[in-house]
């Protein structure tokens, strides 16, 4: 893919992000931060590539270990981030008695 194609995806995604995030209810802003934090750990893709690469030379070997360390950090975030979001979201409950629909 050339640079312009990638840049186009990026710019479009920024617009999508803008509209999607404005539609998030303020009551869920903390879970929003937790879940965005979890998904930004998609950086693990880069970490996995570095860890899986054949380590040629000294730089290659160091690169592999840096990659592995990044895999650990990113997975803490992925598992921790999604789990804590799930834990928070499970707490949001409606009133027990039926209420007339709002909006």
């Amino acid at each position: 893919m050339d640079f312009i194609a990638i840049l186009s995806i990026f710019v479009m995604a920024c617009f999508v992000g803008y509209y999607v995030v404005w539609s998030v209810t303020p009551a869920l802003h903390t879970p929003l931060m937790a879940v965005t934090n979890a998904i930004s750990s998609v950086i693990i893709v880069g970490a996995l590539i570095a860890a899986a690469a054949a380590g040629i030379g000294a730089g290659g070997a160091v690169s592999k270990w840096l990659g592995l360390l990044a895999v650990v950090l990113a997975s803490v975030n992925i598992f921790g981030g999604f789990a804590v979001t799930a834990r928070m979201l499970a707490m949001y409950k409606k009133k027990e008695r039926p209420v007339p629909a709002k909006h």
């Binding site: 929003l32 930004s40 693990i44 970490a47 975030n77 981030g81």
Partner: protein
Amino acid sequence: MEHASVNPWAAFAYLVAGVCFILALRGLSSPATSQRGNRMGIIGMTIAVVTTLVTHVPGEMVEATGQLCSQMHTIAGSGPALCHDMTYAPVLVVDWSTVGLILAAIAIGAVIGLTTARRIAMTDMPQLVAAFHSLVGLAAVLVAAAAFLNPQAFGIADMVIPLIGKPFFAIYPQSRIEMGLGIAIGAITFSGSVIAFLKLNGNMGGAPILLPARHIINLTVLAAILGLVAYFTQDQSAWVFWTITILSFAIGFLLIIPIGGADMPVVVSMLNSYSGWAAAAMGFTLHNTAMIITGALVGSSGAILSYIMCKAMNRSFISVIAGGFGATAAASDGAAKVDRPWKRGSAEDAAFLMSQAEQVIIVPGYGMAVAQAQHALREMADKLKAHGVRVKYAIHPVAGRMPGHMNVLLAEANVPYDEVFELEDINGEFAQTDVAFVIGANDVTNPAAKTDKSSPIYGMPILDVENAKTVLFVKRSMGGVGYAGVDNDVFYRDNTMMLLADAKKMVEEIVKALD
């Protein structure tokens, strides 16, 4: 320039992962769909990780005759297409020890992450989010460093065989810019988040630390980083790369230390945004759509949250980042004098007033979180409901230390989310309300924001608690002032009764008195 063979199926899978992440955020538009949204996020992440694992199996392509393909390219200086031209199909010899290491790394992360997520108290959520941001930042730094040291693994370099000297890999200039920006943003996210964590966790005082000439120092360091990133395109020496890294760690630290505790919601949102841009920059380097889409989503999410927080404080983003807010508060904390008459009430008075009311609006703030009073508060609300009182909660956008902090705490205490209202939805109701019960909030109720042009909080939208028939104000003592360092006129109103005690203790006493 030719990037390393991008498998079209893999590219498609990354795109699907990106779409899953969009749907994950979309799900958060309502608590009813939010759990489904979180699951979409998990699905997206699984797709991204599995795709990477299967397309980057560690090992070497060994040609049927036993010749290494990688050796072939080094000599020929061309891509893996050479392997496909061979009569005998190359076979992948998997490097199982590396596979084991990768799986172990994921497992270690999973154990740490899941244990932390299960054990963390909801009041500590701002610290946890700051800590998680620092991990994303550090991971971005490590990935960028790995890409710098082993560029051919990421397909971002061409081999150069000079006439004299050893052959080396020249990283594409465009990739160098992306990498330079990625490591700078990652490092700023890391050190900034560490400081935010220490401040939120109380390991470091919340008061701003002001260095002399800090604006000049910060601008110089920022300019140096940008200059070095530009220079990096001309010279891919290690010193340039590592200087960018070190300066970025330093600037992240310098940027956050002058920012006071009350501005932390903006800082946490801003670092959230940075962690996204760091992922996006690495996505550009790797030409990975999942990373770019996610980076853009997270980047805009954090930016919007910062904007909402700044607007809720009527402060410009620049003034928050410049820091120093709340410094005067810390200085005048002990000196604040109370020389105007005010009324003090007891738990019994409060219980009586509220049980006679038709509607009570509870206004929680950071003090409630500190005192862990949310469960006692819910109990109080239950008792009041049993007396036939209508109970609602009013949340100011900057109540607490991160966006939505109060909502999570109330949800934890089993307060139904349809009893919890945002500022603009409930502010008109105070005039028809018998009792406004303010617990652990201060500046967000201060009418000086509307009337006093010289006040540091002038223009900030506030909850109009003073319009209620009676205001019950739970506060530790009369001496302390809010973070903005301004006295609150509501304390001295005729319709205000001060309940001076620890928030949790006071609420528990009211619960007892309501029996």
